[in-house]
Structure formats: structure tokens, C-alpha cells
């Protein structure tokens, strides 16, 4: 727990990445309602375990507007899924300790009652999970599960709900939805299951859709279809979308903004274009280097990140990435002592790194870019 001291006493490395007129240190004052559709302020999710405190999300802040898509990228264990579950309120009544604020359409969710958040779930915000086979109940038909989701929030007859379910299945591109509605999940193919899952999530026209690794379990061809579907539906419903993935390629086409997470903290944030063209964080470089590309020679095609993701109990001191960072030596020891502050490099584009702008530019231009 060498880093705890660095974070204590209200001193914080994180600042809001978006300029907020007239307010720099919002977390010091009483909670002020957010103007954004979704806003996270210094969200921390911790799990007490026998081995120590697991800090799955360690001071996250971002905003998201309707009709926009945010991609959250990181290795497994970087806290992406925990963050999304926190937004959905699914940590309530568990041992998880949650602090900070989550504002959804002017309503704060961290302090809200269980019942209130439950009423919003499925209706105002919905979620699509990674493995649709295990995420759908094996003993109920697809239709039953969609009908159930719809009827929780809409007082309609079963027949009407069923018609709605068929319609939803049709909209997500399931052929013969009138008969497939009575099939069980195991009778669907993987892609169809994910479509059904999306249909279920969208059945109440949610304004926020969180897709947690929506395509990881699918074939490559089906992946593209599902991503297209999400984009189409988003445009149709004008909802805000969060896509969580470990694969930058998935969000390249879809996301407006990208947040790169490492060890529960934001490493880099910015518009998709900026992230791909001018990535600032050595970890982001690593992620880019790990993307398979068909136009490269096999030998230098991949630039894997060295080492393993850090333990969330014993997060490395200073910059959590420093044990795996090739440029840590250039910081003169700061990377091991001081937690880097997320700071803007160009408008919305910000990074939490001790390297100077020149050092980053040089490394990117000479070491990384030519190999990508």
C-alpha cells in the first residue's frame, strides 16, 4: 500500500478532463448537480478482502452526453467492468465500498436508494454483457426474458409485451422473430444470442447503454455485425453508449471518445482520433502495438506490453505503470514516487504521465510509430 500516502489528505492527481467553467475543485464543495447526461466524479470502488483492500476503481471522472459513445479500454483487471457495474448500481448491497458521485440525467446514483437505482436499471440505463450464453437464463425462452425486462418498467399485458419482444427481435435482425421468440438461448447461435441480448437491453429504450465486451465471445465476422447494430441503434435511439473492451480495434470505429484505464485509474483520455493519431501514454502505445494488423510482417507485427497487469491490492507506487514502462528512467525517479496527474495535452485530450511533452513526442515518433 505504498501509494496510499500519495493519495491522502484530499490532494488528488485527478482533475476533470473537461474544462468546467468557474469550478476547478468540484469535489471539495457540496455535490452540485451535473449538467451532463452522465458524469462520474472521483468514483472509487473498493472491495475489502482477507488479503487487503482491492481498489478496482480509484478516482475516476468523466462525462458523457446523449448520442455520444465512450470507449473504455484496458486490460482485464483494470477496473472497466467494475466501473460499469457501479454505474448500474449493481454493487449495492454487496461488500463493495463506493465513494464519489455518479450523476445520471441530473440524479446522483451513489447515494440513491437501492429501490431508486433499481427503477432506473433496465429503463433509463441498460447493459449488454460479454458472454450472452451465460448471461441469459438457460431455463427461460428468449421471449420470456425480453418480456420480463419490458414488463418490469411498462404496465402492459403479456400479449402486448410479447408483441413488443417480437418487434425488438426483428429490430436487432433476428430472422423469423415470431417463432424464434419461443426458443431457448441454447437454441440460438452466438451472434443471435448477442442480438437477443441487445434486444433485451433496448426493450425499454434506455438512454444509457453500457456494452461490456459485447463482441469478445463472438466470431470476427459477427463482431462487425454486432458493432454495426449497436451503432445503428444508437443513432436511432439517440442514447449514450459506453463500450468496454480490451481491444482498441473495437472502439476505433464506434467511439467518439476513448478512456484508457490502468490499475483502476485513467491513463489517457481523449477523442478517438487523437488517441489513435497522437497517443500520449506509453501504455496506450502498448495497446496500439498489440493490435494485430494484416499489412505487417509477422516478426514485428506485435509490440506486446512487457510484464503482467498489477495487483489491485498492491498497486505499484507512483505511476502504477512504471514497472512495465520502458521510459520510466527518463522521469528522474518521479514515476516511482509521485502519482501522475491527468493533465490536458490538447483540449479534451489528456494524459497521466510524468514524461514531458517532448519526451513523449520523441518516443512516439522514433520508437513506436514506425513499428505500427
Amino acid at each position: 500500500m505504498t501509494d496510499t500516502g500519495n493519495w491522502g489528505g484530499g490532494q488528488d492527481g485527478f482533475v476533470d478532463v473537461r474544462p468546467r467553467p468557474g469550478e476547478a475543485e468540484f469535489y471539495d464543495s457540496a455535490p452540485t448537480p451535473s449538467d451532463s447526461f452522465l458524469e462520474l466524479r472521483d468514483l472509487r470502488v473498493q472491495f475489502p478482502t482477507d488479503d487487503g483492500l482491492v481498489k478496482s476503481a480509484d478516482g475516476l471522472s468523466f462525462t458523457l452526453e446523449r448520442g455520444r459513445t465512450l470507449g473504455i479500454v484496458g486490460e482485464s483487471g483494470s477496473g472497466k467492468s467494475v466501473t460499469s457495474l457501479a454505474i448500474m448500481g449493481l454493487h449495492k448491497n454487496t461488500r463493495a465500498r463506493i465513494t464519489g458521485e455518479i450523476w445520471l440525467d441530473g440524479e446522483e446514483l451513489v447515494g440513491a436508494s437501492v429501490e431508486r437505482v433499481r427503477a432506473l436499471r433496465g429503463k433509463k440505463m441498460a447493459m449488454i454483457f460479454q458472454d450472452p450464453l451465460s448471461a441469459m437464463h438457460p431455463y427461460y425462452t428468449v421471449g420470456t426474458q425480453i418480456i420480463e425486462a419490458y414488463r418490469i418498467h411498462n404496465k402492459v399485458s403479456k400479449a402486448a409485451a410479447r408483441r413488443h419482444a417480437v418487434e425488438m427481435l426483428d429490430r436487432v435482425g433476428i430472422p423469423q422473430p415470431g417463432s424464434r421468440v419461443d426458443d431457448y438461448p441454447h437454441q440460438f447461435s452466438g451472434g443471435m444470442r448477442q442480438r437477443a441480448m441487445i434486444a433485451m437491453a433496448l426493450s425499454c429504450d434506455p438512454e444509457l447503454l453500457i456494452a461490456d465486451e459485447p463482441t469478445t465471445a463472438l466470431d470476427v465476422t459477427v463482431q462487425a455485425q454486432i458493432l454495426d447494430l449497436i451503432r445503428d441503434l444508437q443513432q436511432e435511439f439517440n442514447s449514450a453508449v459506453i463500450i468496454i473492451t480490451h481491444d482498441l480495434g473495437v472502439v476505433a470505429e464506434l467511439a467518439d471518445n476513448i478512456m484508457v484505464m490502468y490499475a483502476g485509474r485513467t491513463a489517457e483520455y481523449g477523442p478517438t482520433d487523437d488517441i489513435f493519431r497522437r497517443p500520449q501514454h506509453p501504455y496506450t502505445w502498448g495497446l496500439l502495438g498489440s493490435m494485430p494488423r494484416l499489412d505487417r510482417e509477422r516478426a514485428d507485427r506485435l509490440l506486446p506490453i512487457m510484464g503482467t497487469p498489477p495487483s489491485l491490492i498492491n498497486v505499484p507506487s507512483g505511476c502504477a505503470f512504471h514497472p512495465r514502462c520502458n521510459y520510466a528512467s527518463l522521469t528522474g525517479g518521479r514515476s516511482t514516487d509521485e502519482v501522475p496527474v491527468l493533465h490536458s495535452v490538447d483540449g479534451e485530450h489528456s494524459v497521466a504521465c510524468h514524461l514531458t511533452a517532448e519526451q513523449r513526442l520523441k518516443a512516439w515518433e522514433t520508437d513506436i510509430k514506425p513499428k505500427l
Binding site: L85, M88, L90, N93, R118, A119, L120, R121, G122, K123, A126, M127, F129, D131, S134, A135, M136, H137, P138, Y139, T141, E148, A149, I152, H153, Y184, H186, M200, A201
Partner: protein, 336 residues
């Protein structure tokens, strides 16, 4: 599905045939290997101090002088086609399924088993309802409140229930609730339901509770473990993400998945019990099939042993079949 059932039924008949053959063989061959002759065998079915003619008459009467395969064939024929029996003044007909006449009391076996069946049935079904409701209920609550005082108390009680033998809990319950505090003075004194439902229940409450205690403990542990596993499943998270109330998440999604394997075990347990809850019936002196079986074995009464073995086997096979069919209904992923 139909072919599946037919195939299973044929298999069941075959299995029961094998069971009867093994029973037959154990009964006749084992003593013979140990050196017992057929007239020595017959001596067990006559009175004290019998004369040689008396023994021989019984040997012929019971057919023990015939080769074993002839005796077995006659037994099978009796089940399929019925049999005639020399009752003394006349021959009485024993209609199919005729499991023969008791070597000991000369009464047809089948009606005796039919009269014992309601006792065991009352005991098993009553106890089953009790243990299913309490066992599963406690298991669910324990799982949801894992680590709480309730959970710890319930699981300690369950451990006791699983570990304590029935004849101990049975005698304890009798000593306390019948003999010390006469809450149930008539415990174990079976009265048919049709005669007096009140006294029927009164006689059975202690046996039910005793039997159910063991199984409830087992089921509570099973349910708790199953619930803990199920509640970590992805589909439970999905159900919550839909905005379902926690009660619905637990009952409709969690319990539904947990119950499937429990239903399987339940069916098999019930099938076994209907074939005779030997310990409970013995401890409470209930005249059911289990007690009937014990007496048949003590008395070396072959037709009764065969009858009760086959009946118990039949119930187990039937329970297996029902469970398999039910499984297809309960779990849509299973198809035959």
C-alpha cells in the same frame, strides 16, 4: 420422448428381472454353498420340533425340492399369469401379479404389501413435503445471508441433522414428545387417513419430523451450496441489470436454476423411501414396507423378500424415469 420412455420401461423390466434373479440366487445358492440342504431350509417354515414327514410335507408344498430354475420359473409365471394355491379345503387363486404366498404365514404377499404401502407412502410423502419446504427454505435464506448468525445456526443444525442417525433422533423425539411431554401420545400408532385424518397426522408427526430432519439438513446444505453458486452466475447479474426486484431475482432466477439438480435428488430419495423407510419405520414401529422387509428377512420368508425387493426396485426405477422425464421438462437444454 415416447420412444425414450418405452425404452426406459423395457430396461426397467429387465433390471427388475435381474434383481429378482439375484435375490433368488442369494436366497437359495448361498445357504446351499454353506451346506444347507433343502429339508433343512424347510425346517424353518414348520413349527418347533417337527417330524421328518412334517418337514418333507412343507418342502413339497413350498416346492423347495424342485430345481431352482423351476422354482424361479414358477415365480415369474405367478407374477404374469397368477397362481393357484392349496389352502387346505380348496385351492385358492392368486391373481396376477401374484408374488406368491408367504412361507411363514401362508398369506398372499401382494395384498400384504398393498396394506403396508399406504403407511410408507404417508410417511415418505409427508416427510418429503416437510423437508423440501424447510430444507430448501433454510438453504436459500442461509445462502442469501451467508455468514450471518442465522446461516451459522442453520448450518450447525444441518450438520447435526446429517450426522445424527435416525434411530437416535427417533428415540429421542419419542422420549421427549411422547413419553415425557405427551404431545403426541399416539406417535407411531398408525391410523389410516381415511379412518381419521387427525389421528393419522398425530401418529405421523414425529416420524415425519424425524425423517425430514435428516433430509432437510441434507437439502439445506445442498440448496445453500447451489444458491451460492447460482447467485454468482452471469444470468443473475443480467436479471438484476433488468431492474428486477431482489426477491424476483432470487426466486424466479436463482432458485429456479438451483432447484433443478435438487429435484433430481428429491425424486430419487423419494423413490427409495417409498420402497421402505426401514430405520424410521422400525424406530416408530410403523407397519410399512420397510418394516415388512425387515420382518421378511428375519423370517427368511422368500416370497416376501422377493416381493418387497421388487416393489422397492420398481419404485426406484420409476423414480429414476420420472426424474429423467421431469428433467426434460425442467431443463429445456435436455432433450431425448
Amino acid at each position: 420422448m415416447i420412444t425414450f420412455i418405452v425404452r426406459r420401461l423395457l430396461g426397467a423390466v429387465l433390471m427388475l428381472l435381474v434383481v429378482s434373479m439375484v435375490t433368488f440366487a442369494v436366497f437359495f445358492l448361498v445357504p446351499r454353498i454353506a451346506g444347507q440342504t433343502t429339508d433343512q431350509l424347510a425346517t424353518q417354515y414348520v413349527g418347533r420340533n417337527p417330524s421328518v414327514t412334517q418337514i418333507h410335507a412343507m418342502e413339497v408344498k413350498l416346492g423347495l425340492d424342485q430345481p431352482i430354475y423351476v422354482q424361479y420359473g414358477r415365480f415369474l409365471k405367478g407374477i404374469v399369469a397368477g397362481a393357484d394355491y392349496d389352502a387346505g379345503p380348496d385351492r385358492t387363486h392368486c391373481p396376477a401379479p401374484c408374488f406368491g404366498y408367504s412361507f411363514k404365514n401362508q398369506q398372499p404377499v401382494w395384498p400384504q404389501m398393498l396394506s403396508a404401502l399406504p403407511v410408507t407412502g404417508s410417511l415418505a410423502i409427508g416427510a418429503a413435503i416437510l423437508w423440501l419446504v424447510t430444507g430448501v427454505g433454510i438453504g436459500v435464506l442461509s445462502a442469501l445471508k451467508r455468514g450471518s448468525i442465522f446461516d451459522r445456526t442453520a448450518m450447525s443444525a444441518a450438520l447435526a441433522g446429517v450426522s445424527l442417525p435416525i434411530f437416535f433422533t427417533a428415540l429421542l423425539s419419542l422420549a421427549i414428545f411422547r413419553d415425557s411431554v405427551p404431545l403426541f401420545p399416539d406417535a407411531g400408532n398408525f391410523i389410516p387417513f381415511s379412518e381419521s385424518p387427525g389421528r393419522w397426522a398425530e401418529a405421523l408427526v414425529l416420524p415425519w419430523v424425524t425423517l425430514a430432519f435428516l433430509y432437510a439438513a441434507l437439502y439445506a446444505r445442498l440448496t445453500r451450496a447451489g444458491m451460492l453458486e447460482t447467485m454468482n452466475e452471469d444470468f443473475i447479474r443480467t436479471a438484476r441489470a433488468k431492474g428486477l426486484s431482489e426477491r424476483k431475482v432470487v426466486v424466479k432466477h436463482g432458485l429456479r436454476a438451483t432447484l433443478t439438480p435438487i429435484v433430481t435428488i428429491f425424486g430419487l430419495d423419494l423413490g427409495l423411501l417409498v420402497g421402505g423407510a426401514i430405520l424410521t419405520e422400525t424406530a416408530f414401529s410403523l407397519p410399512g414396507l420397510g418394516r415388512f422387509a425387515v420382518n421378511a428377512i428375519t423370517n427368511q420368508d422368500l416370497p416376501e423378500i422377493l416381493g418387497v425387493t421388487l416393489l422397492a426396485g420398481f419404485f426406484v426405477v420409476l423414480a429414476n424415469l420420472i426424474v429423467d422425464v421431469l428433467y426434460a421438462v425442467v431443463d429445456p437444454r435436455v432433450r431425448y
